[in-house]
């Protein structure tokens, strides 16, 4: 036994003998090489990232539970202190919402009638997976969450992620039991959006600030702050119509989106299982082709008969 350790010693000794300076230069060089390589070919390390995330997820899940409890305790205190105001606010809101409910029910009926009349094909239904946020990015320049739902829970890359308020981000990497969610404030986030009333289309670009930028707005499109922003569903990634936020103008006059969902308050999220009509089409197209061929054949046979 001691012989084996002796061997280990003999192997590690020259390694430790390498001067501190040399290993510093080596390691710094390696970091720089990784930075350059990662910049050029980011996907190279996707699998390594997934493995590390998957291995750490159980620890994160365990440790984030007391953090969640602490949060509940704090928000409980908050609720207790604001109970009077909150009650009054909720009463007002309830009165307003009841009016809206009447409107919504009426609209739903009209909508159903019209859809039946026009024989509209309803879009595919959206299922969802509920998950808990077990980790965030831990750095000032990355905005991402790790959530405790993975492949086994039917989580998939590209799924939209929402909380009770609105869009949070989308899934960018899926492990077996955990997934990484890129938040809308991240530098790499691009979300196709559309504005209420005007139906102007644009792209919401994350810039590391809490208020993502509005870019690629049409030249003649005039936006006024306060307009509601929803996802447009263009590009085939996120389902259309998810509430995102409202338009605001910052100090320098740039148009931004003030998201409904507050990044720091998100604890549970929903991953939306949304099948795009595109995806369905491809499979469906083959089937219809087959049917058409079948029809043609039967026509031909009918003709022959």
């Amino acid at each position: 036994m001691s012989d084996r350790f002796g061997q280990v010693e003999r192997i590690t000794l020259p390694f430790r003998m390498i001067s501190y300076r040399l290993s510093m230069v080596l390691m710094i060089g390696l970091s720089c090489a990784l930075l350059l390589l990662g910049r050029a070919e980011a996907y190279v390390f996707d699998e390594a990232r997934e493995k590390v995330q998957e291995a750490t997820a159980p620890i994160l899940e365990l440790l984030s539970t007391p953090v969640g409890m602490m949060r509940q305790w704090f928000s409980g205190m908050d609720d207790f202190l604001n109970v009077y105001e909150e009650n009054r606010r909720l009463r007002d809101e309830n009165a307003r919402l009841l009016e809206w409910q009447a409107v919504a029910l009426e609209l739903q009926q009209t909508n159903e009638r019209l859809e039946a009349l026009l024989n509209v094909q309803a879009g595919p239904g959206i299922g969802y997976i509920t998950a808990r946020v077990i980790g965030d990015s831990g750095g000032p320049f990355v905005h991402a969450f790790i959530v405790n739902a993975g492949e086994v829970d039917r989580a998939a890359k590209g799924q939209a992620v929402i909380d009770t308020q609105g869009l949070v981000g989308h899934v960018v990497a899926v492990g077996e039991h955990s997934s990484r969610v890129l938040l809308i404030s991240d530098l790499n986030s691009r979300v196709p959006i559309v504005f209420e009333d005007s139906y102007y289309k644009a792209v919401m670009v994350g810039d590391n600030s809490p208020l993502p930028l509005i870019e690629f707005l049409g030249e003649d499109d005039v936006l006024t702050p306060g307009k509601r922003v929803v996802t447009s569903g263009h590009g085939g990634l996120l389902p259309p119509g998810l509430p995102v936020g409202i338009v605001v103008r910052d100090e320098s006059g740039l148009l931004r989106v003030d998201p409904y969902s507050e990044e720091s308050r998100v604890d549970h999220v929903r991953l939306l299982e949304f099948e795009f009509p595109n995806d369905v089409d491809e499979e469906g197209a083959e089937e219809t082709d087959g049917e058409q061929v079948g029809l043609l054949n039967s026509d031909a046979t009918a003709g022959a008969q």
């Binding site: 930075l35 390390f45 602490m70």
Partner: protein
């Protein structure tokens, strides 16, 4: 007789391995700690740089147990886990490590306030370096606010983490 000596030998070696890897394990734990969604409690999404504190502490007191490659892998682990640019945190931690190791003889034996101050300086410097790298990486001048927030929060929390590392050192590491 020889059995006992072998056993103690093994125990001794296991203890050596444990001591040699403990600072690294503590640093990895700090990476996980900084990934926890504390924003839910504090209402701020910026996480304190716990692992930077660990690298700072071990570079100052036990650089023999926290060699450059351990610092590199601490950073790499954080890069892989956070989904940010790969090599960024390893580079940042190595910078901090180099700064401290080159100045550690000056700081050894100084009062805690001086050490705390030194951590503040190192945190400011490496965060500025990080800001520069990230701005170049994304070809986009980043806002300075996130790093100011992270630096301030890390500075404020260093005394607590320093206490924790000190406890780990006294409790588990033999004096050299």
């Amino acid at each position: 007789m020889s059995m006992i000596s072998t056993e103690t030998n093994v125990a001794h070696r296991l203890r050596k391995i444990f001591e040699r890897t403990l600072p690294f394990i503590v640093a990895l734990f700090c990476v996980i700690l900084s990934m926890l969604p504390f924003g839910l409690v504090s209402g701020i999404i910026i996480a304190p740089a716990f692992a930077l504190m660990a690298v700072f502490y071990w570079a100052l007191y036990r650089p023999d147990l926290m060699p450059p490659y351990a610092v590199f892998f601490t950073g790499l682990y954080q890069d892989l886990l956070s989904g940010g640019p790969l090599g960024l945190w390893s580079f940042i931690y190595l910078c901090a490590y180099g700064m401290i190791v080159s100045q550690r003889l000056f700081f050894i034996g100084k009062a805690f306030l001086a050490i705390w101050f030194a951590f503040g300086i190192v945190a400011i410097l490496v965060n500025l370096i990080m800001w520069g790298i990230v701005s170049l990486y994304y070809a986009n001048v980043m806002s300075l606010w996130p790093i100011i927030g992270q630096t301030a929060l890390s500075f404020a929390l260093y005394p607590f983490m320093g206490k924790f590392f000190g406890w780990v050192q006294r409790r588990f590491l033999s004096v050299v």
